[in-house]
Structures are given as structure tokens and as C-alpha cells.
């Protein structure tokens, strides 16, 4: 089981967290086209390499954090703005 680097609690077991999927900004509702909205909702890129992800430390500090994970090696690091 991988360790997730929580910026508040330190590295903790992944089971303490809920995976929130690839992190991406919510499009602006007024200007977003249907295409952009659906991409945001349903299209997951699933790259081989570094991916920005939201994780929620539900069994810890209950903070939503953003980390970067290498999908090939499960190497993780806290995003700059995590």
C-alpha cells in the first residue's frame, strides 16, 4: 500500500484517504461550452507518467489535497500548490 504525503500529517497509508480522481479546475459555468463541461466531468486522461490528483484525508486531518503521482511507479509527491 502506498504512502500519501499529507502536508499536515506527513506520509500516511493510502487507505486513510479517499481518491478524488485527476485534479482539474471546474470550468466557469457561464462561459463553458457543453463540450468543455462534459470533458471535465467524464473524460479521464489516464496518462502513463505524472498525474495531478485530488486526495481527501478522510481518516486524518480531513483536508482535500493535491498530489502528483507517477502512474507507472506509484511514486508520489505533494503538488506545488497541494
Amino acid at each position: 500500500m502506498m504512502l500519501v504525503p499529507c502536508p499536515w500529517c506527513g506520509p500516511r497509508n493510502a487507505t486513510e484517504f479517499r481518491y478524488g480522481g485527476a485534479a482539474g479546475a471546474r470550468p466557469d459555468l457561464v462561459s463553458a461550452t457543453p463540450q468543455q463541461w462534459r470533458e471535465y466531468l467524464y473524460t479521464q486522461r489516464n496518462p502513463l507518467g505524472w498525474s495531478r490528483e485530488g486526495w481527501y484525508h478522510r481518516a486524518g486531518c480531513r483536508r482535500h489535497i493535491t498530489i502528483e503521482r507517477h502512474t507507472g511507479t506509484n511514486e508520489v509527491r505533494l503538488a506545488e500548490d497541494g
Binding site: M1, M2, L3, G10, P34, Y56, R62, R63
Partner: protein, 969 residues
């Protein structure tokens, strides 16, 4: 026949128990009696099932998987493919490992009518019948007969008997789980492992030393006097270090991300198996080497054994494994076996030295080896053939860490590739190379030094990564950054010996021969992974530990490739078998009760499991409870309803975002019903939220949605709107919640409430007040109507819940107050046409399919799910929530019964249905295509038993009081 002493009348010594041996592990003062296939045998404490039986002259332990050939001991340890046995209720016990106990009932598995005369051995005569891929070739068609084939084939498999559910298991024994956070885990307790553990502990590391056998020592245990002296010394070193926790009869079965290790501990007191989940800072892999069988004709006959098996039997268990032996040796360990046999009084008829180019061609015999033919042409009579042809490095844990072992022909084995090993995994001992015990210990000591330093560096990094670490926390380790000098431990030269000039068994568990592998390759399965899947080689209980390298060698030979080119199959977790019980562990399932639970139990409530909560389903007669609420007054425990305390100046803005409806104008003292949608427009939750003060709100959610909604609210606040000033506190269990419902509820409430004017014009429908109930201050009361009756939902500080409940029951006695349960509430809300999220909607039901169009305010700038709802409204919903009444008043269609269109296609489904005590008829809610949703439409409902009934779509959703006059009084 029990032969604990040599038969004096015989000229030749017979298999049996020897005089005491210097390294023996049996306790001769403690004899043990057990049965084997019904006959009584004796052994000593410390004996394995296999050694005790071998000491009494037993040679045949099982019948093989496909051909039902007699099988004896091969490795005499955990891996031995020939002696999986049934012990009482427990199937597939490793007889070479499990210690014998007094009164044990041991039997061979799936042999009929007996081990000696197994009728299924005819399979061997049928020859090609069971060629590789025979399942695919013979039984593939017709498909309809597969269940029959499976039944027949099943009888031929030598697995044990699993007891019927409920009767199994050993009484008083259980399974368990444990978490550990050692600095260093050492996998393997041989000389290298013991030395590594002691060296790491001496630097201050907390060490877990895991050994698969029943005691530490590895191959030193069956070694010479020097080995035994070193063994005593290393054991003393381990015992002297309090920082070492020794787990014997345990195995590191898997290595996962970030050194998360699964360790299976077996045979603890009262604990059958325990799964240890250890987060190790560093892992030292020191499993030693596994001796490899040799492939030749007759290599599975009872009496053909590996040199380590013979040395274990003689030195650990004082068992003479035969009378007249031929030994094929290619290494010093094989030579040592010759010495052990001579010392045990076994006549060594021939020593075949593979280093000189000689080998064994075939072994023959009926129920055991009786003659061996050599490459020189000589034929020698014997009852024991010992082979010592090389070693397999069990690299599983390294593979699981990302390593790819590399084949080295000069050493005739696969070796780890240090370049590919992660920093937190190290290896020592036989898996790395060969050497004297002194050299092994020196290598292990150096590796342990490196492991301890890396563990300390890791501990420091973890500690520094915790910003909330207090000033008074223990000091972090200060690791020595200089790299440790690790002496070279080079693998010794060894001849490559895999197969003789004849064909024999490669996988003894799965009965796969070298000829089967060659046939598979000829049929085109030319990659090692394909050969494995087609022939099932390496897929039996030994999981490749004995047979992988031979498989690679034979595939390489048959394809004309080198072994390095052929490569190996992948080693995956688990390295060793683990029971499902250990994986399940102890059942830790939290259960939640309301403060009134004791009262419910005392008053005959039928419990209902609702998620984590246990709730009263009813108190005997749900229909009577419904009538009481409609005519008088009832109270229900609704504590599980989710409750969030929201405070701050921006709560209204938050609510506008979370709910589809508008909240800006909700006045203090008012409550409003709201619907929440996820971003895909699907209804996620609903509930009422009340404004208790200028900046203070109390939100209610469904019971099952409480946790989800809380996390969702936090998500919005933390990631999208961190600037909003809102505090969210979950108060679900801070309050006990009671709904007081029925036309006489106001009368009952008036007797207990103080500080709140209950007059209809002072405390109207959809309003909230705070006040005192039954003397308990700080209660929140809201007037809402899930049941459709005049009702008050009272949220009481949890510790006073029972008092208020009992006060309501006592004060309402003359009013005929009754408690009602979840079932009555479901009926009441269905009569009223209130839908339940998740029952009348599902994971695809968007808001416009849920009859809440009135609540959806698309003119709001933003709210969760808005774009999807805009499109749903433009396109029109695919289904609509409707209320239906069967024409036959007495037939209640099952929930999930399908609604059919005129042409017979599925046009919808019943989502809720009950017999209404109020109307005396069946009532339903359903999801239905809009074309059929017009009130007055008659539709067909197909019942589970296949009958079709007619039902009418009614106006609105409410079957009872559609005008809502009862709840507004």
C-alpha cells in the same frame, strides 16, 4: 507396522528412528500418538507429520494430481508436493511442515478406496488422455455438458475435504490481524538473516526477524558440529537483542508499495493464522536457497529425494530415510548427504558425481524406487535415490520490489540484479551468493548496517515531513550518511543440471512432465508465460519454487534459446499460501446505536440493519403503528438522520451552491426542503435545512448520505471556495432525534415543551424553534412532515435522548402514543408520496426525473449539477417519478418489478410498494417513461412470478392527503 528400532532379525537396516542426533529437534521424552488413515502411529514432540510417518516406515504419502501415481517425500519441508494431508477438518495441510500433535487425525487426501489401491491410478495407463491442454481439447464441446465434466473431473483431484459451512474450524481458534512499524524486517532466519537482524538491532533499529520454519537456523541446523556451534552463537546473538522480535512459523508473503509487507504467522496460541501488516523502513531479503529437483524418468517415485530432505530427516528428526541409497551429487551439500547417510547406517550403493559427467538416467519400481540406471549403463538396486543437482534462488520478494532476476550460467541459477532494487530493499545470504558461514555472516552484517542507516534516514525524512510534529516529540535519528562497505558474496560455480536424457516430472503438484512442456512448445506455445498457462506448470501449491527453473531450462532447450533469453515467469504475491480467514482477520465492523436503543430492545423492537446503524424496524405490527400515527400520535427514533451545523456569514451562498433550490431569502426561524445533485445532475441527497440564527443553520441529510454530504461540503469549501467564511461541524450523533407525528402531536408536545409557543400561527409548518423539551434545554424543533401528518422533529442533546423519549411516552399515555419504526415510516411516507433518494431514484436518476422540478432554480448563476440539468430539461427526462395504484387493490407488486409498455418492452419499474393501511389498497411509486406518465394511464406491471397486473398512474405523488392539509394544521 511401527518400526521405531531396527529389526534385529534383518541383515539390512530398515527405515526408522535413529539413535539421538546432535542437532535433532525432537523431544524423545515427549512421545505423541496420532492416527494416519485410521491406524495409530507414534512420534515425538518436534516431529512433523512427515517425519513421524517416515520414522514408522511410511513411504507413500499421497496420490498425484492427474495420474494418481504414488508419491513420497521429496523435500520433507513446507514445499513438499507429495505430502499435503487432511488433518481433522482441515484440508491441504503441509505434512512436511505441520508439527504432529497428540490425538491428531491425519489422512491422505482424495484417494479411493485407499492410498495403496487407488483405482484412479488407471489414469497413468491411459497415458495421453491427460496430455497438456486436455481440458481444452477433450471437453470443450458441447458446452452444455461442462457442468457434468466438472463434476467428473473434480473426483480425480486430490484436494482435501472442506467442512460444511458452520461446522468447520477448530473450536477456540480464531484468525487475527496485526499492524507493525518495524525499522528493519529480515525475511529469512538462516545464518545470514540471524546475523543481519543482530547487526541491525545493535545499531538501535527495531527489527522483525521472520522465519518460515519452526525455529531459527536455516541450513545450519542440519550441518556439522561447526555449523551447530555457529548456530548456537547466532541464536544467542539474536536472543541478546531486545530490539529483535522473532516470528517463527511465519513468512513474509508479499511486498507492496513503500515496503508495505504482509506477513503470515501460523499456529499461535488460540490464533490459527495472523496476518501482520508491517510498514518496514527497510526490508532485508534473506530466504536462502531452495534445492531443485532433477528431471528424469521415474523422478517422482517414492524414495527419490533431494539431498536437503535426507539431511533434514537424518539430522533434525533422527530418521533413517532408506536402507540402500544411490546419491547423485553435484555440490558439497550432496557430498555431505552421503556422509549423513553413512552415519545413519544407510548402505550407500553408489555415489554418482555429476561434476565428473556422470548422471542418473532413470529410476524404476512399483510403489517406490527399487532400481536406478546410471549414464554408465550400470543398474543398481536401491530403495533411496538422493539428488543434489543445484539451487533455486527464491527471488519473489525482490521481484515484487521491481527487480528482474538474471540467469547466470556459471552458477546455474537466477540472481538478483542489484541495479534494479529499490533503496529500501536489500538482499543477503544464499540468494546473493555462496560462501562459508563466516563469509555469509560478514556480508549480512554489512548489509544490515546499510539497512539500518537507510531505515534511520527514512525515519528522519518521515519525521521531518510532519509539519504538526510537536517540539516535545522524541528526537529524530541522525543517520550516518557514509555508505557501508559490503564484501562481495559471489555465487559459486555449479554445473547446469536440469534434465537427464530421459523425460520426467517437472511440476510434481500439477503432474506436468518435461515431455508435456515439449509437446506444448511443438503446438506453438513457445513463450514461457504461454507454456505456463497451457500446461499449468508452476501453478500448483509449490507455486514454482521447485519447478520454475527446470521449466525455463526445458523450454530453453526445446526452443533452442538460452535460459536468459527464455526468462522466468512472474512471481507475484502471495509468496506463501494464506488462508481466507487470515485475510478476513478479526471482524471489525462498527455498529451505531441511538441513545434510545436500550428502550427499543426492552419494548420488543425488531432490529433493522441500516448501514452502520441498528434501528427499530417495528415493534410488532407496523400497520397498527401507521394507523396510530394517522389517528393519534406516534414517536419514532430518527437519530441516524445526518445533521451538519453550519455557521458563518456565507452559509446562504454555500447552500445556494449545494442545493438545486434557492436559499438566499430563508428567514431566521424557517426551514426549507432541498435537493442536492452531483455535478452530473444525478440526485445525491435531500433533506431540510433550518436557519436557527442570523449566521447559524442546521442541515439535515439522509441517514446513509450523512458522511458523503459532509465530505462533499468540505470539498467545495476547501477546493472551490476557500474564501467563504463557513464552519461545518457534523452533529449527527451530538443530537438524538425524535419525530413526534400525528394529529395529536401538538397536544403531546404542549405538555413537555417550554419556551416555545406551539400555536399554529406562532410555530407554523416549515418553521424551526429552539427551546426546552422535558426539561432539556437547547433542543431544536422543526415542524416538517415526512409522514404527511402534523409533526415535530425534536433534536435533543444526545445524552438526554432517552429521557426525552421516555418523557414523551409517559406524557402521551392517555393520548395513546405509540412508538413506530422504520417500516411504518416507510409506509407513511409512501402514502404521502415522498420519495427516498437511492430507492425511488438510482445512480442515473437526474433531478427532472425525481418530481422536484418545482425546486430546481436554473436562474441561479451556479449550483452543483446545473449544466447537466439545463440539458436534461432541454431534452426532456427519459423517466419520471410517478405514483401508481394497482387495479386489483390487494396485489402489491414487488419493488423492482418491471412496468411494460403496450408493445411489451420495459418502460419503467416499481421503486416502492406497500399495502396502505390507511387506504386498504396497494400503493406504489415508480419510474416510468414520460409517454406513459400521464395521470389516468393504465400500465402493465410484470410480477416476479411472471403474472401481469394492471396499475393506474395517479395525479401527483400522494396517495393520501394530496392537498397537504393534515401536515399544515
Amino acid at each position: 507396522m511401527s518400526l521405531t528400532t531396527p529389526n534385529p532379525t534383518s541383515t539390512r537396516v530398515r527405515p526408522g528412528r535413529l539413535a539421538p542426533q546432535p542437532g535433532e529437534v525432537i523431544d524423545r521424552r515427549r512421545p505423541v500418538t496420532f492416527t494416519w488413515n485410521g491406524s495409530t502411529h507414534r512420534g515425538f514432540q518436534g516431529d512433523t507429520i512427515a517425519s513421524a510417518l517416515a520414522a514408522s516406515g511410511v513411504r507413500v504419502f499421497s496420490r498425484s494430481y492427474k495420474y494418481h501415481r504414488p508419491r513420497g517425500l521429496l523435500t520433507a519441508d513446507f514445499l513438499d508436493p507429495g505430502c499435503s494431508v487432511q488433518v481433522g477438518d482441515e484440508p491441504n495441510v503441509r505434512g512436511g511442515h505441520r508439527l504432529v500433535e497428540n490425538g491428531m487425525v491425519v489422512s491422505s487426501q482424495n484417494t479411493w478406496p485407499s492410498l495403496r489401491f487407488d483405482v484412479k491410478a488407471v489414469n497413468g495407463l491411459a497415458g495421453r488422455f491427460l496430455a497438456p491442454g486436455f481440458y481444452y481439447k477433450t471437453f470443450i464441446k458441447p458446452q452444455l455438458l461442462w457442468p457434468l465434466y466438472e463434476k467428473v473431473l473434480r473426483r480425480f483431484v486430490h484436494a482435501g475435504e472442506v467442512p460444511e459451512a458452520g461446522t468447520g474450524g477448530v473450536s477456540g481458534e480464531t484468525f487475527d490481524k496485526r499492524y507493525a512499524h518495524p525499522d528493519v524486517v529480515v525475511a529469512g532466519g538462516g545464518p545470514a538473516g540471524m546475523a543481519a537482524a543482530a547487526a541491525a538491532a545493535r545499531t538501535g533499529s527495531r527489527v522483525m526477524l521472520v522465519e518460515e520454519e519452526h525455529e531459527l537456523g536455516g541450513h545450519l541446523r542440519w550441518g556439522d558440529a561447526d555449523d551447530l556451534a555457529t548456530l548456537r552463537d547466532l541464536r544467542a546473538q539474536v536472543a541478546a537483542e531486545p530490539g529483535i522480535e522473532v516470528l517463527t512459523n511465519a513468512v513474509v508473503s508479499g511486498r507492496f508499495d513503500d515496503n508495505w509487507l504482509s506477513i503470515v504467522e501460523r499456529g499461535l496460541p488460540q490464533v490459527f493464522e495472523r496476518l501482520v501488516k508491517a510498514r518496514a523502513k527497510t526490508l532485508i531479503v534473506a530466504p536462502g536457497l531452495i534445492e531443485r529437483p532433477y528431471v528424469f524418468e521415474g523422478n517422482d517415485l517414492p524414495g527419490v529425494m533431494l539431498s536437503t530432505a535426507v539431511r533434514r530427516l537424518v539430522n533434525l528428526y533422527a530418521v533413517r530415510p532408506g536402507s540402500r541409497a544411490v546419491v547423485l551429487t553435484a555440490n558439497p551439500e550432496g557430498d555431505a548427504a552421503v556422509e549423513d547417510l553413512r552415519r545413519a547406517g544407510v548402505e550407500v550403493a553408489a555415489v554418482v558425481d555429476a561434476r565428473a559427467g556422470d548422471t542418473v538416467v532413470r529410476a524404476t519400481g512399483r510403489s517406490g524406487v527399487s532400481q536406478v540406471e546410471l549414464s554408465t549403463g550400470a543398474r543398481i538396486a536401491c530403495d533411496l535415490l538422493v539428488t543434489a543437482v543445484g539451487w533455486t534462488a527464491p527471488t519473489s520478494l525482490l521481484n515484487m520490489s521491481g527487480d528482474r532476476p538474471v540467469y547466470r550460467p556459471s552458477a546455474a541459477r537466477f540472481l538478483p540484479d542489484p541495479q534494479r532494487m529499490p533503496d529500501d530493499v536489500l538482499a543477503t545470504g544464499g540468494i546473493v551468493g555462496d560462501g562459508t558461514v563466516t563469509e555469509l555472516v560478514a556480508h549480512a552484517t554489512a548489509i544490515a548496517g546499510a539497512a539500518a542507516r537507510r531505515a534511520a534516514a527514512r525515519a528522519r525524512a518521515i519525521g521531518e515531513a510532519v509539519p504538526t510534529r510537536g517540539d516535545d516529540a522524541p528526537a529524530l535519528p541522525d543517520p550516518d550518511p557514509t555508505p557501508v562497505d559490503v564484501p562481495v558474496l559471489a555465487p559459486a560455480d555449479h554445473p547446469e543440471l536440469f534434465r537427464s536424457s530421459t523425460h520426467g516430472f517437472v511440476d510434481f503438484c500439477e503432474d506436468v512432465s518435461s515431455k508435456d512442456l515439449v509437446i506444448a512448445i511443438k503446438e506453438g506455445y513457445d513463450s514461457i508465460e504461454l507454456v505456463k498457462r497451457y500446461t499449468t506448470v508452476t501453478m500448483g501449491p509449490a507455486q514454482g519454487k521447485l519447478e520454475t527453473v527446470n521449466t525455463v531450462a526445458i523450454v530453453a532447450e526445446a526452443t533452442g534459446r538460452t535460459m536468459a533469453e527464455t526468462g522466468t515467469t512472474t512471481w507475484r504475491p502471495m509468496y506463501a499460501p494464506v488462508t481466507l480467514g487470515a485475510l478476513a482477520g478479526r471482524i471489525h465492523e462498527p455498529v451505531r446505536y441511538s441513545p434510545m436503543q436500550r428502550w427499543h430492545e426492552q419494548h420488543g423492537a425488531t432490529p433493522l440493519v441500516a448501514g452502520q446503524w441498528i434501528r427499530p424496524e417495528h415493534y410488532g405490527d407496523p400497520a397498527a403503528e401507521v394507523r396510530a400515527v394517522r389517528t393519534g400520535v406516534g414517536i419514532i427514533d430518527v437519530t441516524p438522520i445526518g445533521k451538519l451545523d453550519l455557521r458563518g456569514p456565507d452559509v446562504a451562498e454555500l447552500l445556494n451552491l449545494l442545493y438545486v433550490n434557492k436559499w438566499s431569502k430563508l428567514g431566521v426561524g424557517k426551514v426549507r426542503y432541498g435537493v442536492m445533485c452531483a455535478e452530473d445532475g444525478v440526485v445525491m441527497d435531500d433533506g431540510v435545512t433550518g436557519r436557527l440564527g442570523e449566521d447559524r443553520y442546521l442541515m439535515s441529510t439522509t441517514s446513509s448520505g450523512a458522511a458523503t454530504v459532509w465530505e462533499w461540503v468540505e470539498d467545495w469549501l476547501q477546493t472551490s471556495h476557500p474564501d467563504w467564511r463557513v464552519h461545518v461541524t457534523p452533529v449527527t450523533t451530538a443530537y438524538a432525534s425524535i419525530n413526534v407525528a400525528g394529529p395529536r402531536s401538538r397536544e403531546l408536545m404542549a405538555r413537555l415543551v417550554s419556551g416555545v409557543d406551539l400555536a399554529p400561527d406562532a410555530f407554523g409548518y416549515m418553521q424551526v424553534r429552539t427551546g426546552s423539551v422535558a426539561g432539556v434545554d437547547d433542543c431544536v424543533l422543526w415542524r416538517i412532515g415526512f409522514t404527511g401528518e402534523l409533526s415535530y422533529e425534536v433534536h435533543v442533546p444526545a445524552s438526554y435522548g432517552l429521557q426525552v423519549w421516555e418523557a414523551l411516552m409517559a406524557a402521551g399515555e392517555d393520548l395513546g402514543v405509540v412508538p413506530f419504526g422504520v417500516e411504518a415510516q416507510r409506509i407513511l411516507r409512501l402514502e404521502k408520496g415522498h420519495f427516498i433518494v437511492g430507492q425511488d431514484t438510482d445512480g442515473l436518476t437526474k433531478a427532472y426525473s425525481s418530481a422536484v422540478d418545482w425546486a430546481i432554480k436554473l436562474d441561479k448563476d451556479d449550483f452543483a449539477g446545473k449544466p447537466e440539468l439545463v440539458w436534461q430539461r432541454e431534452q426532456g427526462p427519459t423517466t419520471q417519478l410517478v405514483a401508481l395504484q394497482p387495479v386489483d387493490r390487494a396485489t402489491v407488486p414487488e419493488e423492482a418489478a418491471q412496468i411494460l409498455g403496450e408493445d411489451g418492452r420495459i418502460a419503467g419499474r416499481i421503486t416502492s410498494s406497500r399495502m396502505s393501511p390507511t387506504l386498504g389498497r396497494a400503493i406504489c411509486l415508480g419510474q416510468l417513461e414520460p409517454s406513459l406518465a400521464t395521470p389516468g394511464t393504465l400500465v402493465t406491471v410484470r410480477l416476479v412470478d411472471g403474472r401481469d397486473i394492471r396499475a393506474e398512474v395517479i395525479e401527483g405523488l400522494a396517495h393520501v392527503d394530496p392537498e397537504g392539509t393534515r401536515q399544515r394544521v
